[in-house]
Symmetry: D2
Subunit: 320 residues, 4 copies
C-alpha cells in the first residue's frame, strides 16, 4: 500500500504548476499520507534534494507562476547510473510512489524510470503548448493563451496606428493549439499551425482581399513549428508590398500569475493524481477529456501525436 | 426558410457579448444571409432601432467588454402592446428569426415572445453568474472569475500585511459558481454559496483552527445571495475577535476585456446559434455540456434551477 | 554617531512599502551599518518584534504589494507606558535611529515618540491618498491611481452598454488627489473632491448638457470625503432622471503589485532616508517637490493641510 | 492671429498620443478655435488627409494605445516637393499653425518645414525611449516602463524556477532611460545602457559574486543600443557557465492602454501646446523639467543629446 509519495516538476515551467503541487500536497496530507517535495526536477531526485512538505509549505503559492520546487533538464537522469541513484534516494526515504508534473520529455523520463524499477508514477501534464496526447488540456495553456492575447492587443495598437501587417511567432513546435486559440480570440487575419502545410500564397491572397475590403491592418499568428519567422515575414512583405513587421513572443509566455482556469484545473488534476496514486492506480497520466478527468497510459501519452480540434480551424476561417 | 435574422443583447452586460455578436454576424454573412443589429435590447425592438450589419460593423470589437449594440431592461416588452410593436418591426424589415444574447430574464422574454407570435428565436446564455440551467457555461463567467481573483490578489496584500480577515462579496444571487470557482482559485479560507445553508459557527470554527495553525490572515468569499454582508462580517468579527473587514465587488465584475475562454466560447456559441437558426432549428438556447455544444429547450432554460458541481465543493474543503 | 537603525511600516498598507524597506536595508548595509526590521509597526516596537535584516531578507519583494514586515494600528503606542516599552526595546538592541514608513497617523506617532525620548527618526510618507503636507508624492499613490483607472475602464463598458451614469467612490478623506488624477485620466464627466464645496446642482447641469450633446453615458468620480455616496447617487438620479448606479472602490485600492513609478520613487526615498539618518540628519520626513527629494520637518508634515494642485482642477474642466 | 490649427502624430506610435490629441482638440475648441486632424502623420499632410475635429471626435480615446489619427514614416516629406504640397494643403484649409506629436525624427521634420515656410509649429515629444533633449519626460515612457516590468515579472518566474540568467533586450538606442528605470524597478542584477561602455567582464564578476551569495537567478536588462544581444548573451553564458537565455521585448513595448501618468502628462502637454500656439508662441517643443512644463527651442530638441540621470545609475548599484 502506498503511504508516502514524492512530487516534482520537470522540464520547462508553466503557470499553474504550483497549484498542482499544492493540491497534491494537501490531498496527501488530508489522506493522512506523507508527501515529499523534490527540488529541481529529476536532478533533485538524483542528488537527493528531497524534503517533506507540510500544509504550510504550499501556502501563498497558488497565485504564483513558475514552480517553487524548481525545475530543470537533467542529462544524468537519461543514464541508467543516474536513474539508479534516483531510485536509491527514493528507497532511502521509504517513498512508495511519485507524481511528476511536466511536458512530454518529463513523461518519457517517467516511463523509462518506471520500466526499469517498476516504481509507481502518476504524471500530470503541464506545458503551455497543450501538446500531450490523450488530454484536451495541459497546465498553463490557458494562462499562456491570455498572455498571447494581451500581447496581440498591444501589437494591434501599433498595427492599427501604422496600417501594418504584424507577424507574430507563438510557441507551437508540433501542436498548433496555442497560436490557433489565441489567434481566434484576437481576431487574427491568418493563423499558421504546424498541422497544416504552410501556404504563403494563400495567405497573401487572403491579405490582399482583406486589405482591399478596407481593413487597414492585419495580425498574423505563426506557430514556431512552421518555419523561420524572418523568412515568412519577408515573403509576406515582398508579395503583398504591405508594411510588414515581425514580433517573437518567446520566454514571456512561460511565466505569469496563472488564470482561474489553470488554477482550478491544475488543482483538480493534482487532487486526482494524489488520490489515484494513494489508492494504487498508477503508471498513467491524468488529463481532461471534455472537462471530465481521464487517465491515459504513460505509454500512450508518450508515443502518440495529438490532433488539433478541427472546430477551431473551421471557426478561424469563418470569423476572419 | 430563414434568410434574414436579427441579433440583440439584453439584460445585464457581460464580457464576451461582442464576440458572440461578431460570430453571429460573420457566420450569417458567410452563409449569404442578411443580419440586423438591434440596439438597446428589447427596447430597440419595440422602438425600431434595427440596422443591417456588415462584416466591418463587427471589426475590432472582439477585445472589448460590454456590448456595442447596447442593452437595457425594457418594461414595455413585458406588455403585450410592447411585444406587438416589436413583432411588427421585425415583420416590417422582413426578418425571419432572432438571436437573443443575455441572462434568464432575457430568455424569459424570448419565451413569451415566441409563445405569442411563434417567432423563431435562438438564445445565447450570457451572464457572469453562470446560472442558466442546462449549460455548464454562460458568456462572461470566465472573465468575471479572473476579475474576482485579481481583486482577491490585491486584498490578500492588505490582509497579509494587517493580519486580517477580509470578507468579500461576489455576484451569485441563486448560483454559487462565481464565488466558488474564484474562491478555490484564490485559496480562500472559506466560501459561502446560496446552494448550502450558511453556517457562521462552522465558518468561525474553521477560522479559529486555521489561525491557531499559524495562518495569519484569511480571505472569505461570500455570494451575494447568502445574505447581508455587513451582518455576516460583523458576526465573524464578534465571534472570532479577529480584525475583520468587508469588501464588496460590485459592478466592476461586469466589465473588462474578455478572457480567451470567453472570446472563443462566445464565438463558438454565436456561430452555432446562427447556423442553427438559419437551418431551421430554433426555440432553444445553445450552451455547453462538458465542452460540447448542446441545445436546451427555451422552456427548460427558463424554468429550471441549476446545481453547483459538487466536485468544486469537495475540492474547496480539501485544499484549504 | 548612528550605526544601527530600525525600520518599520505602520498604519494602512500601500503598494511600494516593500521597495522602500528594501532600499533602506540595502543602503544601510552598503554603508556598513546594522539594520533591524520591526514587524507589525509600532506594535512590534512595543512587543520587541525586532530582528536584524540581511540583504537577502529583502530579495524578491520589490514587486509585491503590502508590506512584508506587516503593519497595524497600535493603541498601546498612544500611551506613555507603551512608548516607554518601545524605547526600552530599541535601547536593548542598541538601535540609534529609526525609519518609519506610513501615513499621517504614523508621522504623528513618530513626532510624539521623538518629543518624549529625543530618539532620531526619519519618516517616509506612504499612503494612496497622497495627503501629507510638504511632499507632492506619497508611496502607493501612482499604483492606486492606476487601479482606479482600471476599475473605471471596466465600469465604462457597463455604463456605455447600458447608457448609464455610474458614480464611483474613491479614497480621498481630506485630499482629492486620487479621485482628481484618476478622474482626469479616465475622462470622467465630473469629479467631486473635498477641497471644493459639493454642488450637485452644477453637476446635474453639466450632466444634462453633456447628455443633450449626444453623450450616452457618464462616469462621475467622488472622493469619500465628499459625503454619503448613496445620497449623492440618489440625488443625481432624481434630478437627472438618468439611469444611475453607484460603485464603491474600497479596499482593493490598497493592494496590488506596485507601478514602476512607485517602485522607483519608493526606492529613492528609502535610500535618502537611510543616508540622512546615518549621517545624523533626522526628525524629518523625506518627500518630493517637483521630482526633487526634499525634507520636511516632522512638525510640519503632521500639522499642515495639503492643497490640491489647481492645474488639475483647471484641466478637468477643459477636457470633459 | 492663430485661429485654426492642425494636429498630427508622426513616426513610431507610443501610448498616450491619443490623450494628447484629445487635449489639443478640446483646448482649441474651448478657446473657440478650429482644429483639424491630419491622418497618417506627414503623409496625410502631403496627401491632404485633413478633416475638422469635433469634441466627440476624441471621445472614448484617452484609454486607447496607439493613435487614432494614424502615423507613418513619410519619405515624401523629406523632399522639398513633398513639403511644398503639405504647405499648400495647410493654406488651402486656412490653417495657421500645427501641433506635431512624435519623436526626434518628427521634430526634425517640423524644424525643416518651419525653416522653409516659416509655418508656426509646436512639438509634443512622444516616444517610449524618453530620448529627447530638454525634457525629463516623453509621452509613452511610463506605460512602456510598466510593460517592461510586467514582462520581467513573467521572466522572473521562469528564471527562478530554472535557476537561470535571463538577458532581456529593451528599447534604448541612444538613451538608457527605459532599461535603467525598468531594471531598477524589477530588481535586475545588472543593467547595460548605451551611455556607459559595456564591460561584460565586470558584469560577469558581479554575477559570480551574486550567485556565490546564494542568489539562484538573475535578470539582466540590456538597451538595444548596447550591441548584439545574441553575442552578449553568449559571452555571459561562456564566462559564467550559468544557464543563460535571452529574451527580446520588441514591438509589444509600443502599444497598450496608457498608464495614469502618461494620460495625465500627455493631457497637460496637449493643453499647453494648444494654448501656446493659439497665443502666438511657437517653433518650440513643450516638455517637462522636474514636473513643471517648459518649452525647448525646436533647434535644441533636435540637435542635442540627452544625459541619463546619474541618480538612477547610483541607485542601481546600491540596490542590487
Amino acid at each position: 500500500m502506498i503511504k508516502s509519495i514524492a512530487v516534482l516538476t520537470s522540464g520547462t515551467d508553466s503557470p499553474g504548476m504550483n497549484a498542482a503541487i499544492r493540491a497534491v500536497t494537501r490531498t496527501a496530507l488530508f489522506e493522512k499520507s506523507i508527501v515529499w517535495g523534490v527540488t529541481d526536477g529529476y536532478y533533485g531526485l538524483v542528488h537527493d534534494q528531497i524534503e517533506p512538505l507540510k500544509s504550510t509549505s504550499v501556502s501563498d503559492i497558488i497565485q504564483r507562476g513558475g514552480t517553487f520546487l524548481g525545475t530543470s533538464f537533467c542529462p544524468e537522469f537519461e543514464t541508467s547510473a543516474g536513474r539508479k541513484k534516483a531510485f536509491d534516494n527514493l528507497k532511502k526515504h521509504e517513498i512508495d510512489g511519485m507524481i511528476v508534473i511536466g511536458g512530454d520529455g518529463t513523461m518519457r523520463g517517467a516511463k523509462i524510470f518506471n520500466d526499469e524499477f517498476d516504481f509507481p508514477i502518476v504524471g500530470i501534464p503541464a506545458t503551455i503548448e497543450n501538446d500531450i496526447w490523450g488530454t484536451d488540456y495541459t497546465i498553463g495553456c490557458d494562462t499562456a493563451a491570455n498572455t498571447v492575447v494581451e500581447a496581440l492587443n498591444k501589437l494591434r495598437d501599433t498595427a492599427l496606428s501604422h496600417r501594418r501587417v504584424i507577424v507574430v511567432e507563438v510557441a507551437g513546435k508540433k501542436c498548433g493549439w496555442l497560436p490557433m486559440v489565441s489567434g481566434i480570440a484576437s481576431g487574427a487575419a491568418y493563423i499558421l499551425v504546424p498541422e497544416y502545410k504552410v501556404d504563403i500564397d494563400e495567405l497573401v491572397e487572403e491579405l490582399k482581399k482583406r486589405h482591399s475590403c478596407g481593413k487597414t491592418y492585419s495580425l498574423i499568428v505563426v506557430a514556431d513549428g512552421c518555419g523561420d519567422i524572418m523568412k515568412i515575414g519577408k515573403e509576406i512583405a515582398d508579395k503583398t508590398k504591405l508594411d510588414t513587421r515581425i514580433s517573437v513572443l518567446g520566454l514571456i509566455l512561460r511565466g505569469g500569475s496563472p488564470s482561474v482556469e489553470d488554477r482550478v484545473k491544475a488543482s483538480r488534476l493534482g487532487e486526482k493524481a494524489a488520490l489515484a496514486l494513494l489508492s494504487g492506480l498508477y503508471n498513467m497520466v491524468v488529463g481532461y477529456k471534455k472537462n471530465d478527468i481521464v487517465t491515459i497510459a504513460l505509454n500512450d501519452a508518450v508515443n502518440d501525436k495529438k490532433d488539433l480540434d478541427r472546430e477551431y480551424v473551421r471557426l478561424s476561417k469563418i470569423l476572419t
